[in-house]
Assembly symmetry: C2
Homo-oligomer: 106 residues x 2
Amino acid sequence: MDTFTALADPTRRSIIEMLAAEDRNAGDIAGAFTVSRPAISRHLRVLREAGLVSAREHGQQRIYTLEPSPLAEVAGWVNRYSAFWEERLDRLSVAVSARAREGNEQ
Amino acid sequence: MDTFTALADPTRRSIIEMLAAEDRNAGDIAGAFTVSRPAISRHLRVLREAGLVSAREHGQQRIYTLEPSPLAEVAGWVNRYSAFWEERLDRLSVAVSARAREGNEQ
DNA sequence: ACGTTACGTAACGTCAAGGTTACATATCTG
DNA sequence: CAGATATGTAACCTTGACGTTACGTAACGT
């Protein structure tokens, strides 16, 4: 599953936020949500397969750690097009008058 | 639909990339993909409802424009946690030896 | 060794996302 | 006005995402 898709689910984003604070085992993570533990287990699998988290075994527990490098890729994409925003803002006054002049482009 | 969900679909991300280059009408956008025009029309609706694009009418055409402010919100979220990455990188040498001691991830 | 704890997986149900074809509507053009 | 063009919507189908309950398995504690 693609990183964007992994981030589409709010529960998974919450898990990421939790793990940003500190590493946690699966049970702790599940305990923070109302949905069932198997459901969280699945979410963790999705996050693992997307490379967004990794798990290490510690006795019978699995401790999850945030792996932010896929996040960095997403940040790259998003920043490219929200940076475009700044650019647009800079050009805003120009664009407005240009459009008024042209009628419409395309 | 939430912005993250709107971004989860690769076709919609492509549309955003196209519109970052320049405004386009619906037909042009649809022409760039292999899926049917109604499918693209739906994607455009999703993007509109997420506030990621806006449309203005120009005769019988609808010209779509990228509206990057929701992207900026996403950028805010993502950057918050990929910024955490930098922090981790700073701590990398420490972390590596720590993990080597503890065992292994995943 | 045995029950308990921590986790994952299997099997299954439901619902919504995304695709298609067919159709409705509005605007151009001759 | 009549036909062509541009676009959205309706109806429908299929598939996959997400949830639940039931079960399997490995490590702990007594």
